[in-house]
Chain length 319, copies 2
Amino acid sequence: MSFDRLIERIAALENPTVAGLDPKLSYIPQELREEAYRAHGRTLEGAAAALFAFNRGLIDALCDIVPAVKPQCAYYEMYGWPGVKALHDTIAYAREKGMFVITDGKRNDIGATMEAYAAAHLGETEVEGARVTPFGADALTVNGYLGSDGIRPLLKICREKDGGIFVLVKTSNPSSGELQNLALEGGPAVYRQMGEMCEEWGRELPGRYGYSGVGAVVGATYPKELAELRQALPHTFFLVPGYGAQGGGAADVAPGFDGNGLGAIVNSSRGILCAWQKEGCPGAEYAAAARREALRMRDALRAAIGPVKLETEGSHETV
Amino acid sequence: MSFDRLIERIAALENPTVAGLDPKLSYIPQELREEAYRAHGRTLEGAAAALFAFNRGLIDALCDIVPAVKPQCAYYEMYGWPGVKALHDTIAYAREKGMFVITDGKRNDIGATMEAYAAAHLGETEVEGARVTPFGADALTVNGYLGSDGIRPLLKICREKDGGIFVLVKTSNPSSGELQNLALEGGPAVYRQMGEMCEEWGRELPGRYGYSGVGAVVGATYPKELAELRQALPHTFFLVPGYGAQGGGAADVAPGFDGNGLGAIVNSSRGILCAWQKEGCPGAEYAAAARREALRMRDALRAAIGPVKLETEGSHETV
């Protein structure tokens, strides 16, 4: 019912990194694509098979050093329902390999519709009495513009399935301030208000290590806001996009962490996925190149953040 | 590149209604479900086949009186990738029958990721040079919390494919005010600011009838805000949820329309989908019951709004 499992995995690997699985066909080595097309044709099915094969290689190469993956729904939906099947298969494979899976769907709706999204991505669906798992991730990113009606249905399923959510608070993109940085009358900016709502919602999902099951997305590209929010939202775990390709470095994300080296997980997508292209190595080595990049990122974060101390209430356990 | 096609269809049928296709298994007559299970088992595939069969019957019964359908992604995703295939099949069938399709996905992201969503739901995807259509709706609902970076990639595809978007402005749910009604310093409420952004974005997609391709979602449950926004946003076409099951009536939605009886389309989901259950008629008549309810809704809206006048710049054409 919180991010305890994620935090324990981060501590065990001493690595607060999540690998964003946003696979475009152009990131996938030619040989891997051709193999998929031979089986399924140059179709959405063929493209989807290539995505999954690419992801499987990445997961195999990363699962003992990176605690989590974050598949971004858009890159699967763009290959239609076969792409969405590849999303399902990717989630299942990553979980099988012990990784914590954050589905990046930024879903949002209300009441019964939000319950349907919660069942889809984190829970189970009933088919005439039988319970089946449609996608089965550990956490989901969500957009809180609709208020509590869009969040409460998720809290219920997070409690039942030991999952969590990350609510968009201060996003990493250049135009995020157009709405998020507007000042509210007699109050803070919109993003800060959204952050306070996360703290409030999180009271229903307390965790062992001080962080609730309601996290926040806060971009690495805004270190000032990241530091401000870390102070203001002591129970809210952060998912930090914008590292690497979007311009944030280890020093930029450090303010998102607490004194124990916890409180955030930093995403890198293209940096890891396209490492083989950046290194200029053969396609066959894409997974090894991804691992090398993931290790560089881990070491840069370790240096900037310091050691992880896993403290529960009343204990002082250092990993 | 706008809502011209939708507006023309509304005028031709004299009916500003969209049927929300949010099919839960419990809405589907037993016989229809059993038929699907015989072919596919009591599985996600079986459930998805039942959804599509149900939708096909509704589309056949509604396509000559209702201009548009709005499938809600959540109700398909909850049946996994087979459910998402049913979404695809539903969109294709409704378009084949001449209906305007609004995919209700409330998608949101930035840059290349938003381009992927735009390609997925409104455009085309390239697979090694071949262009394929993943879902191919006419319009998509989106959440604007991330600002222009999340909207511009859609505008490009709307221009190319003659489509549109509806941005969440003031949603129909009880808690929508938690963020949306907060007053900005020296300015309007958050929802009004979001509405102004729609007007601004819409300048890139002007339409023949005064409405751009950037619409807004404004709930029937807030008639005061609906009237305020109709005045303030003269080029923004409204998608109005909350009619029927959520409590809004024809008088509540009337302020969303302009003097020509245009400017909005009103959604009903459960009211139409579950009409057979409400009427207490046999399951075999579900489509006929949906049609009866759709006609009642049309007539109630016509009475509240008055005749539709289709005026382009310089012409005064009455339908």
